[in-house]
């Protein structure tokens, strides 16, 4: 078992679930539809960019928009998601927009940042109530296609950001040729996490 294998197991274990039979399950039976169609219209695209930046904002390092996360999400929703996953994601975009209309009498894109944040908090609370019945997967994918909108949005944003060139080179420590393994170095306030390869 190499380091990367351990990482994947730990991903599952830190979630607190450790059913041996479940861990073997690799859910990849669903077929994505590769029609190279962009499912996002102009409104969706602005909505997704705003949401991604709310999740990974610009701080001392660039945020989701600069890192190209909105384009990553559009690609994943179009080319990697299954039909079931895509329909939950697209419905979620409509739902959060509808929520804003009801609460703030404005569409999501026209709301203030404070209102958009409150709307996202609301959708996170819905996601928290969700209990998955699908076993976790060994591979770095969500094996449960039915996870709620917020979970999908957060997962794609985090994945897109920390696998982007900007995210990796500016928010993580990246060195493709370290030349040595330093086994024990002190951690300071500035230490960034070593990037995955």
């Amino acid at each position: 078992m190499n380091r990367r294998e351990a990482l994947r197991w730990a991903t599952v274990l830190l979630g607190g679930i450790a059913s041996p039979s479940a861990l073997r399950a690799i859910s990849m039976n669903s077929a994505p539809s590769h029609d190279n169609k962009n499912y996002f219209n102009e409104f969706h695209s602005r909505q997704v960019a705003t949401l991604a930046e709310l999740i990974i904002p610009t701080t001392s390092t660039p945020g989701a928009i600069v890192a190209g996360v909105p384009q990553f999400i559009a690609m994943m929703v179009s080319d990697w998601y299954t039909e079931a996953e895509r329909s939950i994601f697209m419905a979620g975009l409509d739902d959060i927009n509808y929520y804003c209309q009801q609460q703030y009498k404005n569409n999501f894109n026209a709301c203030s940042v404070e209102q958009q944040t409150q709307a996202l908090i609301h959708f996170e609370s819905i996601a928290k109530a969700y209990v998955s019945t699908t076993p976790p997967s060994l591979t770095m994918q969500t094996s449960d296609e039915a996870t709620p909108f917020f979970s999908k949005l957060k997962e794609l944003t985090v994945l897109g950001y920390f696998t982007s060139e900007i995210g990796i080179t500016q928010s993580l420590a990246y060195n493709p040729m370290p030349m040595e393994y330093k086994a024990d170095i002190p951690l300071t306030d500035k230490t960034k996490q070593w990037s995955q390869y």
């Binding site: 078992m1 190499n2 380091r3 990367r4 351990a6 990482l7 994947r8 197991w9 730990a10 991903t11 599952v12 274990l13 830190l14 450790a18 861990l23 073997r24 690799i26 990849m28 994505p32 709310l54 999740i55 990974i56 904002p57 945020g63 990553f72 994943m76 990697w80 299954t82 944040t117 928290k128 060994l138 770095m140 994918q141 957060k154 997962e155 985090v158 994945l159 897109g160 920390f162 696998t163 982007s164 060139e165 990796i168 928010s171 990246y174 060195n175 370290p178 030349m179 393994y181 086994a183 024990d184 170095i185 002190p186 951690l187 230490t191 960034k192 996490q193 070593w194 995955q196 390869y197």
Partner: protein, 567 residues
């Protein structure tokens, strides 16, 4: 390329089937001793350095953020994609399951490569010597037949192999895990050092050491030292890690005696009924489907443990109706693999410690049970070891655990996460008659070769060892300060550990074994089998170094026999 035929003199002095860890060594040794050698490899050609398409590719070039191509993997790579190193950076190195089916009477996860160099490009590189604890095990407890060799027979060959491949590790002076020729060991990190101290304090008969790995820490053998980039399996142009491509095959090529033929699927070996020698190797060209045969005075079968079984089983004749060299009836039986559970624990208390670089190595806890009267277990025979590491969790592990969104989330994911330690047990399985591979009676692959059918399962002794490794491993991590301790079954299905062995075992007695003490078939003097299929027991110790040492030793013997006119 000359085609072989019965009527002319042999095309080659020797034919080596397979170019992986064993085949590469056979090619090197035989060519260096002056033999003209043909290497037949079923996989695609792969040029060292030039063809490592994904080496040092930055992580942002992975398609879909590294997510699996679900539809493709499920359809065409359902077995291979279970390998943790299988992704878009390595996929071309694996065999396509859909195009190359096999039959699982009982589940068997058969990892297969599709490249020159074989699994030597994809292995985890852990290399340990076996000891007389292993070579005497069958004789002492009566499971399986006695090994026809002892540590003294192979000791110098281990040194010979280690010097050439480059092994980094720490000398310990243990009888049951003999020291080798080591380069400077890699280092344990802060948490691992603490666990080591704790285990060795609480259990004076147990040891934790850095893994002995075929990754150079010093530039040697015309190859570079490790630069700690991480994903060895993508290929290593500087040859810091040992593979056939980086070391044995170039050495063979340098002699001018090597002919390499990729995309060559060996269907069967043909034997002369009178001399009982192999007269031809029947080959199917994977690209054209053309059937051809090559002849050699010697044949080294190193096709991989299970594939070598398949080839001998499929080499049936009037002389050998049950498979070549199978007068004993033991061919295809006594299949073994390692297995085990892994234990995970969070390790609080080291928040101010970190590391940098990607160490392509783990720690190792050598076997500590059933070594002596003091460590004797009543519940099981044989034993197990642990491989593990301590690391800080990463963004991908924490994303689902850190609630909310915004600057807090971002900064939490940018920082090194909580330390955790994992240890994977590797248990010894017993050689059992009923654990068998055979040819399917009707199902054939796309080349018309009967498919291999697996009927292999772990038994009672293995189950008890697994229980013990969980209890004992969890206890050690708890004593070392671990919390939230969990265990998971990682290598449950035979094949999972990719240490499959047996089926063409060595032994003294032609009535119960296929090979003699020099990996030579009892009944076919010009046939040598030196991959994992030759193993008479499984040990709990990683076997690849032993395959290499046995191969070099067999090549030495074969060439002497050839010169003496005995073959």
């Amino acid at each position: 390329m000359m085609k072989g035929s019965f009527d002319q003199a042999a095309d080659f002095d020797a034919i080596v089937v397979g170019s992986g860890i064993s085949g590469g060594w056979a090619a090197k040794e035989l060519t260096e001793k002056g033999l003209k050698v043909l290497v037949l490899e079923r996989g695609k050609n792969l040029r060292h350095g030039i063809d490592y398409f994904s080496e040092h590719q930055p992580p942002w070039t992975k398609p879909f953020g590294g997510k699996p191509l679900r539809e493709l993997y499920a359809e065409e790579y359902p077995i291979q994609s279970q390998n943790i190193i299988f992704d878009e950076m390595t996929r071309p190195y694996f065999l396509n399951d859909k195009q190359n089916p096999y039959q699982q009477q009982k589940a068997f996860n058969w990892t297969r490569s599709d490249i020159v160099g074989g699994k030597s490009l994809l292995w985890s590189r852990q290399v340990y010597r076996w000891s007389d604890l292993d070579f005497e095990a069958n004789k002492k407890d009566g499971h399986g037949i006695d090994w026809p060799i002892r540590y003294a027979d192979i000791k110098d060959w281990y040194s010979y192999v280690e010097s050439f491949i480059g092994v980094s590790g720490e000398a310990l002076g243990l009888d049951h895990l003999p020291d080798g020729i080591f380069q400077k060991p890699m280092e344990l990190n802060a948490v691992e050092k603490s666990i080591k101290a704790n285990i060795e304090h609480n259990h004076p008969d147990r040891v934790l050491t850095i893994g002995r790995t075929a990754v150079q820490t010093e530039p040697k053998n015309g190859r570079g030292a490790c630069h700690y980039c991480g994903p060895c399996e993508r290929g290593c142009s500087v040859g810091a890690y040992f593979s056939s491509l980086s070391s044995t095959l170039p050495a063979a090529e340098k002699t001018g005696n090597l002919t390499m033929r990729p995309e060559s699927i060996v269907e069967a070996l043909e034997v002369d009924p009178v001399s009982k020698k192999i007269t031809a190797v029947k080959v199917i060209d994977a690209a054209t489907g053309e059937r051809m045969r090559f002849s050699g005075r010697l044949v080294f079968l190193c096709a991989s443990a299970m594939a070598s079984n398949q080839i001998l089983l499929n080499s049936r004749s009037e002389t050998f109706p049950n498979g070549l060299a199978n007068g004993s009836g033991s061919l295809g039986r006594y299949i073994m693999d390692h297995y085990g559970d892994a234990i995970f624990a969070l390790m609080p208390g080291y928040d101010d410690r970190y590391y940098s670089g990607n160490r392509p190595n783990n720690f190792y806890i050598p076997r500590f049970k059933n070594l002596s009267d003091n460590t004797k277990e009543s519940a099981f025979v044989r034993g197990y070891g642990f491989q593990g590491a301590s690391i800080r969790s990463t963004w991908s592990m924490m994303a689902g655990q850190v609630p909310g969104f915004g600057a807090y989330l971002k900064h939490a994911l940018m920082r090194p996460g909580p330390w955790f330690t994992f240890m994977a047990g590797f248990g010894e399985s017993l050689p059992r008659y009923e654990n068998q591979v055979a040819l399917h009676t009707s199902k054939r692959d796309r080349y018309g070769i009967p498919q291999l059918r697996f009927n292999v399962a772990f038994g009672e002794n293995e189950a008890r060892i697994r229980e013990d490794m969980v209890v004992t491993g969890s206890e050690m991590l708890k004593q070392a300060g671990g919390v939230n301790i969990n265990s998971v079954s990682i290598n449950n299905v035979p094949g999972d550990a990719i240490h499959e062995m047996g089926g063409i075992r060595m032994g003294y007695d032609p009535a119960t074994s296929v090979l003699n003490a020099y990996n030579q078939a009892h009944e076919v003097v010009n046939l040598f089998v030196t991959d994992g299929s030759c193993m008479t027991s499984a040990s709990c110790v990683n076997p690849s170094l032993t395959f290499m040492a046995l191969t070099a030793r067999a090549a030495d013997y074969a060439v002497k026999q050839l010169a003496a006119g005995s073959i």
